[in-house]
């Protein structure tokens, strides 16, 4: 059996431990300071120039605007039609117009076509901006990317003829698959990729 003194000492130790944990918790909420201090801090401008990853919320979209009309001209003048076909199909490059799936079609029956299957309009803008046109990637202006995105959405009945898109309206577009897809489950180390697979 413990003596009173031992008991008090244990309690004190426990209080001390608890306090340490609390303090540690508070510290971790505050800004972490670098441990090694290697590398340099980028400027705001540098980050803006590098940051071409456009998330579903569209926060990184640059100010600009474009239209279906401008997009239809750019689609020819920038050479898109050469690889993707004049109407978004029949070329060497991936198809850009949905397959005919009849009235009341399930969006998944339109085929693996980016500007109709993608749950977010931002993915289309992002990919044109980062990776098109082939061999001249990164040469399109923001306005041109808005226009080409608008044209592809027009081809797929996502927007009306004459529509204009900008950094505010583009993320608002309700793509047919907006919620019609499955997130990959939370990944944890040391776990089977799918419990019970394959039997």
């Amino acid at each position: 059996m413990r003596s009173a003194k031992q008991w008090i000492a244990l309690k004190a130790l426990r209080t001390l431990l608890l306090a340490t944990i609390l303090v540690a918790g508070v510290v971790s909420v505050k800004a972490q300071s670098p441990l090694y201090g290697v590398g340099r801090t980028p400027t705001e401008n540098e980050i803006r120039l590098w940051d071409i990853a456009i998330g579903p919320k569209g926060e990184e979209l640059p100010v600009g605007s474009g239209s279906v009309d401008m997009g239809s001209e750019l689609y020819l003048s920038k050479g898109c039609a050469g690889c993707h076909g004049t109407l978004g199909n029949g070329g060497m490059a991936p198809r850009l117009i949905k397959r005919d799936a009849g009235p009341n079609a399930d969006p998944w029956d339109y085929g693996r076509v980016l500007p109709i299957r993608s749950p977010y309009a931002t993915t289309v803008w992002d990919f044109i901006n980062r990776a098109m046109p082939l061999g001249a990637e990164g040469t399109l202006t923001a306005d041109e990317v808005y226009s080409l995105t608008a044209y592809l959405f027009f081809l797929n009945d996502v927007v009306e003829d004459g529509a204009e898109l900008n950094e505010k309206t583009l993320p608002q577009i309700q793509m047919p698959n907006r919620t019609n897809w499955t997130q990959v489950p939370d990944w944890l180390p040391g776990q089977p990729r799918l419990e019970g697979y394959p039997y």
């Binding site: 990853a53 990776a131 082939l134 990959v184 939370d186």
Partner: protein, 421 residues
């Protein structure tokens, strides 16, 4: 007569004389394939002469002709000089490491390999962090490093009945020793916000390929690699810097890495779009490579000289951790025996196994299956197809990454064939 033939004749004459002199005639040749023979150094004319090139960076013997091949039904390089998919010659592999020159290569849509000056290259860590950082390659090499063996495998690495060799059925996986900085080290340095759940990793090549990776993976074992098999990462593998996401499908191992952006949601990049599905089962199979193995010898297209002893050899791996056991069947999956694990099984790394086998000369079917440290078992093709079959429809295609067992049929003439039907 050509110089080569003259050398050969001289060599044979010399060999015969030496053999006679030391009385090797009593040695019984194995399997009746070889003749009385004693290896001696060839004539001086057949030496590999010293050269500045051989002094500076050695090369393999001209008698070794193992090479990679274009994969996936598309030329690499194509007429524009783009590379697409290139498969490693697993049939010739020994040990566990794939030589850098033979490591498989895959690209998003076909890619020029960027010719990057490492002095000009930078890696930026930014987004939901307290301290955004830009690292030069010199900076990264100052950071604490690790060296680990890991495989990479293309999600499309699957055996089809039309494939005849292991290079076609399994050549889109390789294993190397990687050196670099743990991604967790630089993320901690940057101070990741508590509500950040994802990172977007991005390359510098013309498509600027980018993938969303769960923070749990980024903090677990992802590596920023500048070293591969004891030298800088090769250009086709992402020189000067690539991401390694051990055990994840190939596309997550972003090459020519320039940026890690810390974010709070799945970013649905173009690469991510490639994984888009509404089937939760299919979605769950979209990251981690399952337990997998393949017999590299004897394998499709090889020829056994006759009945007798053989060491069956092969490679096993899993995206779930270490390989804990490999089993071999020599009777088409009816009975299984443990193979020997050669070397040390390391997490998410090719592990070599072997099995001592006396072939009686009758037709048979060889299979291997991998069991990993978290208890996952490599399925037979039948089991995988059963899983994907519905009441009304018999599956003919294994969805997700196909890790099913590879059967090799050894014909009575010693020919080895792909037994996938």
């Amino acid at each position: 007569m050509s110089q080569k033939k003259t050398d050969r004749r001289e060599f044979l004459k010399r060999s015969a004389a030496v053999a006679g002199a030391v009385g090797l005639g009593a040695v019984k040749p194995a399997l009746g394939q070889d003749h009385e023979h004693m290896p001696v150094a060839p004539e001086p004319g057949a030496f590999i002469r010293g050269s500045d090139e051989m002094t500076a960076y050695g090369s393999r013997s001209r008698f070794v002709d193992s090479v990679r091949i274009p994969h996936g039904g598309r030329e690499s390089p194509d007429s524009f000089g783009l590379d697409f998919h290139i498969a490693t010659p697993l049939q010739d592999s020994v040990g566990e490491i794939t030589p850098s020159s033979l490591h498989y290569m895959g690209t998003t849509r076909g890619s020029f390999v960027p010719d990057i000056d490492p002095d000009e290259h930078r890696l930026m860590i930014h987004g939901m962090v307290d301290n955004p950082i830009v690292f030069s390659m010199e900076d990264l090499k100052r950071m604490p490093s690790v060296t680990r063996k890991h495989f990479i495998e293309c999600a499309g690495n699957r055996s089809r009945s039309r494939h005849t060799t292991i290079q076609e059925t399994h050549g889109m996986t390789s294993n190397a020793e990687w050196t670099g900085v743990l991604l967790s080290t630089v993320l901690k340095e940057a101070g990741v916000h508590a509500d950040a759940d994802w990172v977007v990793a991005e390359g510098v090549e013309e498509v600027k390929g980018a993938s969303s990776i769960p923070m749990a993976k980024a903090m677990d074992d992802c590596l920023l690699c500048y070293g591969m098999n004891g030298e800088p990462v090769r250009p086709q593998q992402g020189f000067p810097l690539r991401l390694l996401a051990p055990g994840f499908e190939g596309i997550f191992n972003v090459k020519w890495l320039r940026r890690i952006k810390v974010v709070d949601e799945y970013y649905m990049t173009y690469n991510d779009f490639g994984h888009l599905t509404r089937d939760p089962v299919n979605a769950a199979l979209g990251y981690q490579i399952g337990p997998k193995s393949v017999i590299t010898y004897p394998s499709g297209g090889q020829q056994l000289p006759g009945a007798g002893f053989y060491e069956i050899g092969g490679l096993a791996w899993s995206g779930g951790g270490r390989v804990s056991r490999v089993e071999i069947s020599t009777d088409g999956g009816r009975s299984w025996k443990d193979a020997d694990i050669r070397g040390t099984a390391e997490p998410m790394a090719h592990t070599r196994f072997s099995f001592e086998w006396d072939w009686d000369g009758a037709e048979c079917e060889l299979q291997s299956r991998c069991i990993d440290e978290i208890g996952q078992i490599q399925p037979s093709r039948q089991q995988a197809l059963d899983f994907w079959s519905t009441d009304g429809e018999r599956a003919t295609f294994v969805k997700g990454q196909d890790n099913s067992i590879q059967p090799w049929r050894v014909a009575s003439d010693g020919g080895v064939h792909n037994a996938i039907s």
